[in-house]
């Protein structure tokens, strides 16, 4: 791509160095730990699934029972599960049902560890093969329907709370041109330390992320895709207490994108930071292996604080997310780094500042399919004004070559989208983007002008910010409230109890296999 801002390549390189040295101590810590969620994710890949009559999922029952028994979870969960499969002589599905019905696989110690290991490898292969097939299928379809998607990809959310209504809404959106459907998760699912089971019809402000819901929506979108000859991507939300598990489920059901931020849970959901750092790495390895594009959550910084004053925190977080992603073996092409059009609409030249920032992100992360979020904070009940703000956002996005474009809804301040809101959003976005399609190619920004100056300024501020964080240490910086104005003590927050120190005999062939395939770590 043609660069137009004249940003200092040295400063950009320096920011990457800082990010690397900020992340490196975290990675050292992460190495030594697993979590209940990492173990459950591992079990899921190996075939553990289902739930008991109270809705407690089988993977939770297994992990809880392992934790409760000797020697605990430090050695990993998979061996025990494989042992139980072996011993019972059942297929995993049948064993899962027994466990759901009350069978405790930890009643007896592992009998033949070597055999169990063998069985485990077999189970893991089945799971990973399925993920690999999903990946191939996606790649095949993308090839088959090449050139039929919009650029940027038009990303629409559905959020009825009922997966069957969601399907109707998603189909309609896809028929009208959506390239990506994100099923918004029910309020605060991120705080549940388990993933609900089965098709669900009762969410608030969103629909439960469950494997069955993933499957239902995937099937519906595949159908539209064939009809429209346009691959429709499916997105869900990983970050939260079940980050790696949801990543695993997404990989198994061929999701294409996953909300997955290295710090979102800590900052915006008050999840413990140790827990999050361990979880995010494992989840990203799964995403990387499955070819799933992550969406990071930098937009969230701007919903609470001012987009002009805090633009640099977004950039700094992008550098950190990038670094964390690399550590998990995720290539740049799968990094949907986030940013957002949240400038106060009353600011003179606000649109130009936005343009500067969006172009800056584009030039600093040229290979990443940036995820650009629409105005939300300054949307009001004035749906007409809102529609125009969304249109300016559409303009900015196309003008700066963003990769993933979250469509704004004119009713953002009122309700989760009505079917017609989505329709209006799509039709107007298609008009705007088509009518200024070659803008990025046509236009230069004047040297010494406000656009270039703004971009340079934000980069500069991000550098000092990263510098300060590097001095303090990332965990200390978070504890000190340097991000998003919230202080999160190291030992505070939810889910710390799910953190487990790996014992020397920790064995997780999924992790090993992923590291091998991705050429990282270990």
């Amino acid at each position: 791509m043609r660069k137009k801002l004249g940003l200092s390549e040295e400063k950009i390189a320096r920011a990457r160095e800082l990010a690397s040295s900020i992340v490196s101590p975290i990675m050292e810590f992460v190495e030594g730990y697993t979590t209940v969620a990492v173990e459950r994710a591992t079990l899921r890949i190996a075939g553990a699934d289902g739930a008991d009559p109270d809705g407690v999922p089988v993977p939770n029952k297994i992990v809880d029972s392992i934790r409760a028994s000797e020697p605990g979870l430090g050695g990993g969960a998979l061996l025990r599960y494989a042992d139980a499969v072996l011993r019972s002589g059942l297929a995993p599905e049948a064993l899962n049902e027994r466990i759901a019905a009350g069978l405790d696989i930890c009643e007896r110690p592992v009998s033949d560890a070597a055999a169990a290991r063998g069985k485990a490898m077999e189970l893991v292969s089945l799971g990973l093969d399925r993920i690999t097939r999903n990946r191939s299928r996606r790649e095949e379809k993308l090839r088959e329907f090449e050139g039929r998607n919009n650029d940027p990809l038009l990303y629409l959310i559905v959020a009825t709370g009922n997966i069957h209504e969601d399907v109707k809404q998603a189909r309609a959106a896809a028929l009208k041109g959506a390239d990506v459907i994100a099923v918004i998760r029910t309020t605060a699912q991120s705080l549940l330390d388990y993933v609900p089971y089965g098709a669900t019809t009762e969410g608030f402000g969103g629909t439960y992320a469950t494997q069955e819901n993933f499957r239902i929506m995937r099937e519906a979108l595949d159908e539209v895709a064939e009809r429209e000859r346009r691959y429709i991507r499916l997105t869900n939300y990983a970050s939260g207490l079940c980050m790696p598990e949801i990543a695993a489920m997404g990989a198994l059901e061929r999701l294409d994108m996953m909300l997955n931020d290295s710090m979102y849970g800590i900052l915006f959901r008050d999840i413990n930071m140790y827990r999050t750092f361990v979880d995010q790495r494992f989840s990203r390895m799964i995403n990387a292996f499955a070819g799933i594009t992550i969406n990071t959550g930098e937009d969230n910084y701007l919903t609470t604080s001012d987009a002009f004053e805090n633009a640099h925190t977004v950039l700094a977080s992008q550098f950190l997310n990038e670094r964390f992603a690399r550590e998990a073996g995720l290539p740049a092409g799968l990094m949907g780094l986030g940013h957002a059009f949240e400038m106060d609409p009353s600011i003179k030249d606000g649109f130009l500042y936005e343009l500067a920032q969006a172009e800056m992100a584009r030039e600093i992360f040229p290979e990443a399919p940036l995820k650009y979020m629409p105005p939300t904070k300054f949307m009001s009940g004035d749906v007409f004004q809102g529609l125009v703000m969304d249109s300016m956002f559409n303009f900015a996005s196309k003008a700066t070559g963003q990769g993933i474009h979250l469509l704004g809804m004119l009713t953002e301040a009122i309700h989760t989208p009505f079917m017609m809101d989505r329709f209006i959003g799509l039709e107007t976005a298609k008009y705007v983007m088509n009518s200024m399609s070659s803008f990025a190619d046509e236009v230069e920004f004047r040297e010494g002008g406000l656009v270039r100056a703004r971009a340079a300024e934000v980069l500069e501020q991000a550098l000092s910010f990263l510098d300060e964080i590097e001095g303090k240490g990332l965990m200390e910086a978070i504890a000190a409230g340097m991000f998003a104005d919230v202080r999160r003590p190291k030992d505070g927050g939810k889910g710390l109890e799910g953190l487990v120190k790996k014992s020397p005999d920790y064995w997780n062939p999924v992790e090993a296999e992923l590291e091998r395939a991705l050429g990282i770590g270990g």
């Binding site: 009940g381 749906v383 009122i414 009505f418 017609m420």
Partner: protein, 246 residues
């Protein structure tokens, strides 16, 4: 069969509707409440006034979302269309050749002080509109387009001379119902001359419906999105019908 349907927001039968309007009252809590009560007064079962703003000292603007229980019977909704089924240009030419064996003469104009020619041109000119050729292109139609600002008297006079089978009248400006006057006058003039039966009379324009046109004494009316073949099909069939009746 009755099939009752209701507006759909994000759940079947939630009845959600968006509204916007102005009230001649100052902006403020009382105006907002009046707006809410107004919407409820129109029969909506709940209403949220999501936006209000002052337009001037005495006028204020409201955006509201409301929901309704009152559905409509979809199956018994009969569209207001002149022609149940249209034909293509070739079919129409064929139809005229077979049933009448001569060219049909059609005279069209935008009448009164209405200066909008684009609509009548879309129907009559060779080029047509939206990939539908105009009447001038039809082999079995002799089309005369008098353009706009044509007084009714002149239209009739011309039609008499040309030996027209049908008159096409376009009306685009509808403010203060000026079109009603123009259209009514045409029919009255024809009736006064005892010539109403001589011509198939068709009205058209973006705000013209078939019902309205028929009420005003026309044979049919064509609204937005109608094409030459729609009106030609109607006219041809009507002439054949009249011929049979004689």
């Amino acid at each position: 069969m009755a099939r009752i349907v209701r507006p759909y927001g994000d759940t079947m039968d939630d009845g959600k509707v968006q509204l916007s309007f102005t009230l001649p009252v100052p902006e403020g809590p009382q105006g907002r409440e009046a707006a809410r009560l107004a919407v409820l007064g129109w029969g909506f079962k709940d209403c949220e006034v999501v936006h209000s703003d002052a337009i001037s000292d005495d006028f204020s603007f409201y955006v509201a979302y409301a929901s309704t229980d009152k559905g409509v019977d979809y199956d018994s909704a009969r569209p207001d269309a002149a022609a149940e089924t249209s034909m293509s240009m070739d079919e129409i030419d064929e139809f005229i050749r077979e049933r009448l064996g001569r060219k049909v003469v059609i005279v069209g104009a935008c009448t009164g002080f209405d200066a909008h020619t684009v609509g009548i041109d879309a129907i009559m000119n060779m080029k047509g509109y939206n990939h539908h050729y105009g009447l001038e292109r039809y082999r079995m139609v002799e089309a005369h387009n008098l353009g706009a600002q044509v007084p009714n008297e002149r239209l009739i006079e011309y039609a008499e001379k040309a030996g027209a089978d049908a008159l096409l009248v376009s009306q685009v400006v509808t403010q203060k119902d000026v079109h009603i006057g123009n259209l009514t006058e045409l029919i009255e003039l024809l009736e006064a001359k005892g010539e109403r039966g001589r011509f198939v009379c068709v009205a058209g324009g973006p705000r013209i419906g078939n019902k309205l046109a028929v009420e005003l004494g026309f044979d049919a009316g064509f609204g937005r999105g109608s094409y030459a073949n729609d009106v030609a099909a109607f006219v041809a069939k009507k002439i054949v019908e009249k011929k049979k009746a004689r």
